[in-house]
Amino acid sequence: MTSTPVRRPVDRLARVPEPAVDVGPYFDLDHGLVDRTIFGDPALYRQELRRVFAPSWLFLAHESQFVKPGDFFTTYMGEDPVIVTMGKDRRLRAFLNACRHRGMRVCRADAGATKAFTCSYHGWSYDTSGRLVNVPNGEDYPAHFDRDQWGLTEVAQLDTYKGLVFATWNPQAPPLVEALGGMTWYMDAMLDRDPEGTEVVGGVHKWVLEGNWKLAAEQFASDWYHVNISHASALMVMSPTGKGPKTEIVQTPGRQYTDPLGHGHGFPTHPKSRFDDRVVHGHYDYEALRERLGDARVEGPMTTGHATVFPNFSYLPVNGSIRVWHPKGPDRMEVWAWTLVDRSMPDEVKDAQRVYNLRTFGPTGIFEQDDGENWSEVQATAHGFVSGSMTLNYQMGLGLEAEDGVHPGTTGRLYSDGAARGFYARWRDLMNTPAWHEKDTR
């Protein structure tokens, strides 16, 4: 079999495509079956970097992190390091954080402000719009060396949705709002409570987890089921009686939204929405929220829900935790989590939300500590030949998904694997479809 060399947008030289594995056999989603191989196989991991991460819109940062031209923040898209920065024209751009000369990381700070990104290897220097503006010993380059062709590699598209900055390497990706699809109705329960929008508190929680990134992304899309058991200790501490989850909590009604593009959102439904922190709860005018977002959203996705925007951006509307699960190899992820608040909240309310979030979620959060334990153990027990290829059960709520007439799109019960099945259907389809860069033969 011969493969035709193709060029990626970032390439000048043609390259032979890597072989792709058909992942179809790892799934029987109609019967709720998933082969555990997808969480640990190194070849599948390489394939998902190029077919799931490279073509998708990925979360980068929040707009409020960039106030003045030159403000920058460094992060990752898949395993690709990127710089997000505001140019002199106040436009946000994102570039590969790799010098075009030998590939040195051109910015090694997490965030800050700068006029230029100067490589510390040989001194090539790029301005905040990514142009190569200075090359030391330039006279020694040949006449056809054209600085304009050696700017930082820029993402193909960058856009924002209500304060959230996303980008993609894929020039053929649909516009961001189409890629978010029906999920925006649910996202607005967090992003659109305040006419002035949202902002993030300074600083980012970053920590490592010895688990495949999909374990976390899938859970935030779909898994309310674990809450009563995994988080029993936290629920006990939070319950007024100190006696742990009551039957009302265990039997709580709710819905789970499954988006055909792989997104998912689970949420209890309750006629009275409330925020867990007393100060934050006291701040909200629930009548005004009903007016603004409608009863269905206030009584649904605005309650203590959980969500994932495919592939690796997740959030908790009530805690204000927004996070990205950066893949770091098949067995490891890095969690980067921000605290989101409404812009017009008084300072003491913002602070109450910040503190509530860090005490419940984040590396010391009383909920999150136990999530970390689950994912690392799930990964650790998958290293054997037999244990690593066993079939896992995703059958909860199978056959119960429908249009419920209240929440747009397809929803199922709160306790369901519906959004996880949707997440994996999308993942499977992307994994089995050559990405734009595999077809591009300029």
Partner: protein, 185 residues
């Protein structure tokens, strides 16, 4: 003439200084033992009622923006606690369902490089120390948390005990290299 750190000791150290240093050292040794024995409720008694227990996030900044490298008050933090919120965290361990610590981790808190100086208020001292906490969990999980602590210690008027009134923890990591911190530092 340059001052050598030992000059101060040889010229001016008093019996009271030695006594205070010993007292602080013993306080930290007892504190470490309580943590390593998971006696968190007893550990909490070492703190004053108006406690602020804070561990900011550390970021990588350009040298000219080093002032921003340690998270500011009001930013995302690893811990930002009062005595009541620590009690809340501790109650979780007593629930019998805190799976991140069930079975419990083995920890060893090492506290060293202690210096003590007078604080701003009468009866208060500023104590700086370095810590290394080794956590070994389940079969072979190992985490190391290393950093520095700056405490404000306050002498209780009634019984003369030293209580920890403020603690700032600077963990020497950017990305936390552990799945969680299920102990205290």
């Amino acid at each position: 003439m340059s001052i050598h750190p030992t000059d101060e000791v040889t010229d001016t150290v008093t019996g009271a200084d030695i006594r205070l240093h010993f007292e602080v050292q013993r306080l930290y040794a007892v504190e470490a033992q309580l943590l390593d024995q998971h006696r968190y409720a007893d550990w909490l008694e070492l703190f004053a009622e108006d406690l602020h227990y804070w561990a900011p996030v550390r970021t990588n900044r350009l040298r000219r923006q080093q002032a921003l490298a340690d998270g500011a008050p009001g930013e995302v933090a690893i811990f930002d606690e009062t005595k009541a919120s620590l009690a809340w965290r501790i109650r979780r361990f007593d629930s019998g369902m805190a799976w991140a610590e069930d079975p419990p981790s083995r920890t060893r808190h090492l506290i060293t490089n202690i210096t003590v100086r007078a604080g701003e208020e009468a009866g208060e001292y500023v104590a700086e120390s370095a810590f290394l906490c080794y956590r070994n969990r389940l079969e072979r999980e190992v985490d190391l948390y290393a950093g520095g602590r700056t405490d404000v210690l306050r002498r209780e008027p009634d019984d003369g005990r030293l209580l920890i009134a403020r603690r700032t923890i600077l963990l020497d990591q950017n990305v936390l290299l552990a799945k969680n911190i299920s102990t205290f530092l």
